[in-house]
């Protein structure tokens, strides 16, 4: 039975990848939307490879026995650091950890804990003018874009507009609260934070997802540290479900 270890392992990893990418939107908790086709293809390939390896293991029959002997000899040749059991690389069993985690209890999206530990993302690098805001009232903005425009836009395109921001709630010790979103470039390991201070509304519990509608309140000189984080005067705060993609593209 143990001979089928590698086949099972390949199929397990493939199934885990497919479970989060093809059969749900869970992959968005870990990586960017653009990776989905790659993930689906990899998942299918891995499951197929598992099947092929299982079939080969089965038909190999007696010949496999000799391979095992060969492997034992090989192990003696270079036992340092290259631990091969009789059924392939032993270190490979570590793959069961992320695979089972994804299959049984997919880890949650990063939230306030990570947001409070990471540095603020200051997207734009200098004061300048921005392209015109899209029409619409209120206009939906990402927190990254809101921050850039609030702090760096010399045309002050946010002035006089009603804006709508969606994110989760984080709080400072002194009671100020923020609508916050994590920005991800590639995978959740590189997350940075974008946030806007919310005034004029009571703070919902930390980590609740909310949509804040309101107007921008200018603070500090453009581009200065005092302008961070940008402030929004809330007209309404509505609780919403966590969006499929919990992160913003950086």
């Amino acid at each position: 039975m143990r001979r089928y270890g590698p086949a099972v392992l390949l199929a397990l990893v493939g199934a885990a990848i497919l479970r989060v990418s093809a059969f749900s939107e869970l992959y968005l908790r870990y990586v960017q939307p653009g990776l989905r086709p790659c993930l689906v293809v990899s998942g299918v390939l891995l499951v197929l490879l598992g099947v092929v390896v299982a079939v080969l293991t089965r038909t190999a029959g007696k010949q496999d026995h000799y391979d095992d002997l060969d492997q034992d000899l090989d192990d003696q040749d270079h036992s340092h650091g290259h631990d091969h059991g009789p059924v392939g690389p032993r270190v490979a069993w570590l793959l069961t950890l992320p695979a089972l985690a994804l299959l049984l209890f997919p880890p949650p999206a990063l939230g306030s804990y990570s947001a409070q530990r990471e540095a603020d993302q200051r997207a734009a690098q200098g004061v300048g003018s921005f392209p015109a805001l899209p029409s619409g009232d209120p206009v939906d903005l990402t927190l990254g874009e809101f921050g850039s425009r609030a702090v760096y836009d010399s045309d002050r395109s946010l002035e006089g507009r009603t804006i709508r921001l969606t994110g989760f709630v984080t709080r400072d010790d002194d009671g100020t609260w923020y609508v916050t979103r994590l920005l991800v470039a590639c995978c959740a390991a590189d997350a940075t934070t974008a946030r806007a201070e919310v005034r004029g509304a009571d703070a919902p519990p930390v980590d609740t997802w909310v949509t804040v509608t309101g107007t921008w309140r200018p603070e500090g000189a453009l581009g200065s540290d005092a302008a961070w984080p940008p402030v929004v005067d809330a007209a309404s705060v509505r609780q919403v479900a966590q969006p499929d993609n919990p992160y913003e593209k950086r």
Partner: protein
């Protein structure tokens, strides 16, 4: 006599089975009770925000790595199974000194991040490519391929010198490391990437499947090790802590070069991370992008798996020094 012994044996066997069943059953019941009562309590206690964040970052790195690892192992298994050795001897210059820069520049053609390049370099060596040339390819491929260069230009808009600097510094590091290996490298450090369990070097589809299975599982295991290390660093050391050290130019170069090692960001994304480290000098950020695809915890784990620990530690340490030196020189010249 014979009969009596058989009966006695039978009784003894029965008794032993009974004892095993009782003991094993009792142990099983005890374990199940303890786990089912205490398990949820302990699990809830342990599943604090840092632990949850650790699991998320850990799985994220693994999920992100799998497609690229698979691409790399498919290419490497295909090289091993279908490309005859003479192709490489014909393509690469006979002299090692010339083969190194050619192999380094050939890194342009493998559009993936660093997870893909380790198995490919291993299979190149198996196919008789000089180790120095294969290593130059290993270092340059994840750093200078078009996907990575485009990502860099997107992350640093209006700063083409950053893209050029990255290309030049990465290629220089790869070629210098190849030459250093050709001059000082010793065969015994490099455990030849032999593959046990693979059919004889006959090639063909069967060899392809065997190679693919072995390489993917093996490298995948080490990817998990690297992901765990990176996730641990991400949780233990917040990035905001590092922004404290932005004052000194020298310190910031060394700091970002170390950060690249522990963060293990894929080469396709590290430009965005570098761009976000806005407090640091351009040279320091260049060092981050040059070191990252060549030396990081995930790569050290992968190289340990493919080439052995003696190699991985020496090679990574030397590469780190050369990469920092190259980025400082190129940064001073271009940025």
């Amino acid at each position: 006599m014979e009969n009596q012994r058989t009966v006695a044996d039978g009784i003894r066997l029965g008794l032993r089975a009974l004892v095993y069943a009782v003991l094993g059953g009792a142990a099983l019941i005890a374990v199940v009770t303890v786990v089912s009562v205490l398990g949820p309590m302990v699990a809830l206690d342990l599943y604090t925000p840092p632990v949850a964040a650790w699991w998320t970052v850990f799985t994220a790195i693994a999920v992100q790595g799998v497609p690229f690892l698979l691409l790399g192992t498919v290419v490497s298994a295909a090289i091993g199974a279908f490309v005859p050795e003479r192709v490489f001897t014909r393509l690469l210059p006979r002299r090692e000194v010339l083969a190194v820069p050619v192999a380094g520049a050939a890194g342009v053609v493998l559009p993936g991040c660093e997870c893909a390049s380790v198995p490919v370099a291993g299979s190149l060596m198996r196919r008789g490519v000089a180790p120095a040339a294969a290593l130059a390819f290993l270092l340059s491929a994840p750093a200078i391929n078009p996907v990575v260069l485009v990502a860099t230009s997107v992350a640093f808009p209006g700063q083409p010198e950053m893209v050029l600097g990255r290309l030049v510094a990465s290629l220089a590091t790869a070629v210098v490391m190849g030459w250093l290996w050709a001059r000082f490298g010793r065969e015994e450090w490099l455990r030849p990437p032999k593959r046990s369990g693979a059919p004889a070097p006959g090639g063909g589809p069967r060899a392809f499947v065997a190679g693919l299975q072995h390489d993917f599982l093996h490298a995948g295991g080490f990817l998990v090790v690297g992901a765990a290390a990176a996730a641990t660093f991400a949780i233990v050391v917040p990035r905001s802590l590092l922004e404290v050290f932005t004052g000194s130019a020298w310190l910031s170069v060394l700091l970002l070069a170390l950060l690249a090692v522990v963060l293990c960001v894929c080469s396709e994304a590290d430009a965005f991370v570098a761009a976000s480290l806005s407090g640091f000098s351009p040279t320091a950020r260049l060092a981050f992008m040059v070191v990252g695809p060549m030396v990081d915890l995930k790569l050290i784990a992968l190289q340990t798996g493919t080439f052995g620990r003696a190699f991985a530690l020496r090679f990574s340490a030397a590469t780190w020094v050369v990469a920092v030196a190259a980025s400082v020189l190129v940064g001073w010249w271009l940025l």
